[in-house]
Symmetry: C2
Subunit: 364 residues, 2 copies
């Protein structure tokens, strides 16, 4: 008998707890259903389709201008390069688990020859002391809100304000890695523009909470964004047509930007359910966005069969991707999206009862 | 009374002579009409959608492997970087009107710090003597087939073979800028794989003759393409989902790859019509692909009103974009696509009769 993998088991559940649904071609087809075929493609960054959306994003983020990029990887390297060139200092600071440090094959170093200073450590966010205690001169500090790789943690808003004031005083530019910016606004109780006002430049992803197909926006002063367009071309990101991403991002932005409060509340509810199970805890304990990490005080090899069994029994989907933390513990990431609200509560509670029972038994 | 610009006038004609039709959202919608919504997105370069297409392209090009890129700009910089790193020589050679030299904001130099040696001049393609006469040691020679900016000219096939043999002997890698590779196969009477066998690495565009939305393919040995994937991530081109481009490229490839012969024959027919007009000639005189340039021995300011008048009178579209060559001459580019075959012959002949008459009159 073939035993299902966690991934297979998850792909078959009726009620995944996380996300907006499958990343399939339907995401594109649905977005374009109502869009007229006669709308003309933008051409190499010029034209109504891209300019309208950029204006909309600039307005949302309270910045003078915004530029659509195929990826955040490209947008952020370019932002840091611009600030380094401006200051004549090829050095920036960010968190050791920044996307740039661990997921981009060192593009920042290999393509832009920018050195990095790592602030804070792998368990916590960057605090004011980390910034004021920096001995090296950097052109830019990049802050990721929320800090994804540690469960989506956030600094206090007061800390952000102080870091911002300090950096301005010291001539250090502040770049916001706001891949999940909209997702943290309910916790901060701020508008996107209010948060972005603390930063010189801002990147926002269009396929995380918003759930578009791909793409990102980089915003800042007109002078900054104009420079970013030149670098976008150099990177090979100035495609003749980006409209498949732009128009779908716009569609899903309109659908979901108003739901971030609900996702946040649901994340807190779901985290509580996890935290009620023996040997299971979430990071943060109380989420500060739509995301958190679920940790098991039990190795991957022993936790997986339990998750698979409950997923098959209840049709509730916890995850398809359990990661080994170390030899005796494991974890996965949860980001709440459209699906959670459709999960029947009785089934939800039943699945967590089972999880608690099975985890308790595993600890006997 | 408002006088229409050439661009406006062209956008209103019933029968444009060049291209596949408007670059609008319909291009996307049409491609996805028959594609099932349940097809899963690839994820960061992995998955059936991207792998199947890459295999198909590798097979077409006769290379071990192929990688889908969002743009040719990205693909070619990366190809050259790989060859430079391998040889430990940060220098490449190409034509002075190469896309890399004039359309990429010096990405190759700014991002990769690669120096360039310019071969041949702005009137002709690179010949064997240019290559054997090179004094500097380069890691790679890039050849563009056809050389777009000079009307889409081509070297003899024998010259290509000799250049290829020479480069292999001298340890110089040969990169094919095959943005329009499929379009030159009817002239060379070769398969794509036969041409590509002369090169170490190959780039092909998916939105020129094929008429996709955007995207490119880079092909070569498995070792080469695996390295290119690392650089693709560094450039910010390893998007979570490239399927909007991949699936549409695949759709239009299947529609149009068999039509390159027809486009080539039609280009020759159309060029002959232009060459029958006084003060008008094409470059090349007899096209060697689906493209050529139309030159007017008359300044832009005086040629434009003539083109506008004929476009309005006949509904035949010559161009929307006449470029100034110098103070007394002008030109534009023509690439034959799906539209040409639908143009009524009588109207076509009438429009060229008018063009001849009006140009002759302008010369009186």
């Amino acid at each position: 008998m073939h035993t299902k993998s966690l991934q297979e088991s998850y792909s078959l559940v009726k009620y995944p707890l996380a996300g907006h649904g499958k990343r399939n071609v339907e995401v594109l087809k649905k977005a374009f259903e109502q869009i007229s075929g006669s709308i003309e493609s933008e051409m190499y960054g010029k034209g109504k389709v891209i300019e309208d959306f950029q204006d909309k994003m600039a307005n949302l983020l309270g910045k003078e201008a915004a530029v659509f990029f195929p990826s955040g990887t490209m947008a952020q390297q370019i932002a840091l390069r611009i600030w380094c060139d401006e200051k004549g200092v090829a050095k920036v600071a960010y968190h050791p688990l920044s996307h740039l440090e661990i997921h981009e094959e060192d593009g920042l170093k290999e393509l832009h020859h920018i050195e990095t200073v790592l602030l804070a450590d792998q368990t916590r966010v960057i605090e004011l002391d980390d910034v004021t205690g920096m001995e090296e001169d950097v052109a830019c500090l990049l802050l990721e809100l929320p800090q994804r790789e540690i469960g989506g943690q956030l600094p206090d808003y007061g800390t952000l304000e102080k870091i911002s004031a300090y950096c301005r005083e010291k001539g250090i530019k502040l770049q916001l890695d706001g891949a999940r910016l909209l997702e943290v606004l309910p916790y901060y109780k701020k508008t996107a523009a209010e948060v972005c006002a603390l930063f010189d430049s801002v990147y926002v992803s269009l396929y995380k909470g918003i759930g578009g197909i791909a793409g990102a926006v980089l915003a800042g002063s007109k002078e900054f964004t104009e420079k970013s367009k030149v670098w976008k071309r150099r990177h090979g990101g100035d495609l003749i047509s980006l409209y498949p991403y732009i128009l779908s991002a716009d569609y899903y932005y309109d659908q979901r930007s108003g739901k971030m409060d609900a996702y946040y509340e649901e994340a807190k509810e779901l985290a509580q359910l996890y935290n009620s199970c023996e040997g299971v805890y979430t990071l943060p304990t109380i989420p500060v966005s739509n995301m958190f990490h679920v940790h098991f005080e039990h190795p991957k090899g022993e936790t997986e069969p339990i998750l698979i069994q409950i997923q098959e029994e209840t049709g509730i989907g916890f995850t398809g991707n359990l990661r080994e933390k170390d030899s005796h513990s494991s974890y996965y990431e949860v980001s709440i999206g459209d699906l959670y609200e459709g999960v029947p509560k009785d089934l939800l509670n039943q699945s967590f009862q089972l999880l608690n029972e099975k985890m308790a038994k595993a600890f006997e």
